[in-house]
Amino acid sequence: MRLSSTGRRAASAVAVVAASALFLAGCGSSSDNDNNSDTSAAGPCGTTDDITLTVGLFGTFGFKEAGLWDAYHKLCPNVTIKEDDTEASGDYWTALQTKLAAESGLDDVQGIEIGFVADVVQNHADQFVNWNEVPNAAADKAEFYDWKWQLASTEDGSDTVGLGTDIGPEAICYRPDLLKQAGLPSDRDTVASKMSTWEDFIDFGKQYMASPTKPKGSYFIDSASSVFSTAVYQGDEAYDNADGQPDVENSDGVKSAWQYATDASAAGISAGLAQWGDAWNKAFASGTFATIACPSWMIGYIQGQAGDSGKGKWDVAPVLPGGATNWGGSWLGVPTSAEHKDAAIALVEWLSAKDQQVEMFANPAAGGHFPSNQEAAADPKVANATNPYFNNAPTGKIFGDIAAQMKVPPIGTYDTPIQTAFGDALTNVETKGTSPDDAWQQALDKIKQVTG
């Protein structure tokens, strides 16, 4: 069977192209289904069509675990909710920025963390639904703590990009059994009285370290970063001045936080662990540190790391040395390009309503997200909540009191990397013996790289 040479060449060409086409066709089909676009914004669910709402979240929101998606589906049977998870908020933010730049691929609801809410407000406010302009705007705004609403709004307050989910009032979580073993007072109110300022806290820590009966290999606090990242928000300014521009050298919060953190390190009360690392995780179970600055969302984390054997060994002291402050917290925004905008708005409003926010704190499966909804915070289910794992501490009251007193300094777009720079500098002090002054310069050096 001899073809002419052109015929052969043509046949080869056809074969190659056909094979390629087959691959592309066979490998190209996918199995997702198209969503209907909703035509009417009817009813409390925002739509009467059968739709699927996509909710883009990161890390630890806990809505699914608290059963809220199922509850909403019962309320609005035509709406199915699909969560779109990314583990690390950094990866999530990278993907979100890319999608915002491409103006495509966004979910119907997108989570916004305190670490990048300033950036969203500054650079992407027009790409998100403005909560001052939705039908329920006034009611929505009245729900939240003022500062929580303002953090997600432009300076003049005209544009708000998200409704708050949780906030992170901080207290001190500690191990009464370790303190008792060291011969120190261990009930929460006495402990609280011993650490109302950072100076007192460090002194108490020195007593712990000096005690001859304290457990071997145990330190008072997990890391100097714990002190720093708490204290930095206790001044009038944190990393940014009132205009939202980074300015660490003139910030009272940064300067005092640095002082306290290096003092704590110099006093030898810190275990020098890298937060969120493997050794730090294990230290919850092994008792390597006796206290840690804990926002309400860390309650669940401690339980997860310390396990069943830690039950009853932990407690919460109703105090935060240096004054009430906040760590963390998020919002939910609706991109203007969302496929089902009205339904998404309805969902977000439902999630920030009192009952749901109460559920997110009181339901043990949700993990202790303290409400940003003021009514929810005042609700008896929250205000009277206790936590058996933490020795029946009145967590609702403790965090509620702190939440009511919190002041929150201005935030900026570079806060997260600036915080990391200081954390790295403190790690150098704690593990490499770098002098605090050198480490301060190192931090400033890195911050210059960050802010460009």
Binding site: S30, G56, T60, G62, A285, G300, Y301, G304, Q305
Partner: protein, 296 residues
């Protein structure tokens, strides 16, 4: 550069050689060989084994000193938890589709291109090869941003095509097959075929393909694994509506009660199928590698 990549021309062996090619007569491995290989095997397997251990203990149990070294029965429960939390099954199916398509496409097209670069004379061979290899030298991470914009313009975001198409032919594969073709397929054999009047395609199908089978097998395995483990681009291009397995792992951390065991159980669930495939195909692959030694 390509002159260096091209191997030196073979020495001409003019003395007549026995014409019947025999099966390989290989040396036996000695006990030292076995000892070394067993140590290597243990080191290679241990971390995967430890994943199984971690998947069956809670965080607190793992925090003990010394940590546990043996898995226990809670493993199945953890796997069930993991499957319940994250769309792992969907991720497995999608990953199989994606990795298989990429592997088939890569092996086929790269063998074609490798043969062309390695044995065919054409204008621009060297330059095009240099460009091909050069494409590997640009760090890939930043490319996701413009690639995302491209894909969304073409409407492929959230579809598997977005993950399959960019990897359908890789420079790595082309270069790999080229090197192998050059060393495994003697020029004389090809010359002889041409003299007999065979077309290039015929040469490819009848002479080259059988000779490079071992390399195709190896390239196939490596490509499959690479596609299976790819995370960064699939994370951006696919939502958890249509995830590959690595993307579906994102839903495993329930955050506050974050249990490492569930994450590890999920990872295991996502790795075992690949291993099963390899073990089943392993005999074939090894057989393929063996057969390749018998040329012609």
């Amino acid at each position: 550069m390509t002159a260096i990549i091209n191997p030196a021309p073979e020495a001409d062996i003019t003395a007549p050689m026995p014409s019947r090619r025999r099966l390989r007569h290989q040396s036996e491995g000695g006990w030292v060989t076995y000892a070394i290989l067993i140590v290597v095997a243990i080191v290679s397997i241990f971390p995967l084994y430890y994943v199984i251990v971690m998947a069956s203990h809670t965080n607190a149990e793992m925090a003990q000193s010394p940590p546990p070294f043996v898995p226990n029965g809670t493993l199945w429960g953890q796997i069930k938890d993991a499957v319940g939390k994250a769309p792992l099954n969907k991720g497995l199916v999608n990953s199989f589709i994606v990795a298989s398509c990429i592997t088939l496409g890569t092996v086929f097209f790269c063998t074609l291109a490798g043969f062309a670069f390695g044995k065919l004379k054409f204008r621009g061979n060297n330059i095009l090869l240099a460009i091909c290899i050069g494409t590997m030298m640009v760090p890939p991470q930043l490319g996701v941003v413009p690639l995302f914009m491209l894909m969304s313009k073409w409407g492929m975001i959230n579809h598997l095509q977005a993950v399959i198409l960019p990897s359908l032919v890789t420079a790595f594969g082309v270069f790999f097959m080229r090197q192998y073709v050059m060393s495994a397929v003697p020029d004389e054999l090809i010359e002889a075929a041409y003299i007999d009047g065979a077309s290039t395609t015929r040469v490819f199908l009848s002479i080259v393909l059988p000779a490079v089978r071992p390399a195709m097998a190896v390239l196939g395995m490596l490509t499959f694994l690479q596609a299976w483990n790819d995370f960064f681009w699939p994370m951006m291009a696919l939502s958890s509506q249509n995830p590959t397995i690595q993307v579906s792992f994102q839903s495993l951390r329930s955050g506050l009660f974050d249990q490492q065991s569930v994450v590890m159980a999920g990872t295991l669930y996502g790795t075992i199928p690949v291993l099963v495939v390899f073990i089943i195909l392993g005999r074939q692959i090894v057989g393929g590698i063996m057969q390749g030694a018998v040329k012609g």
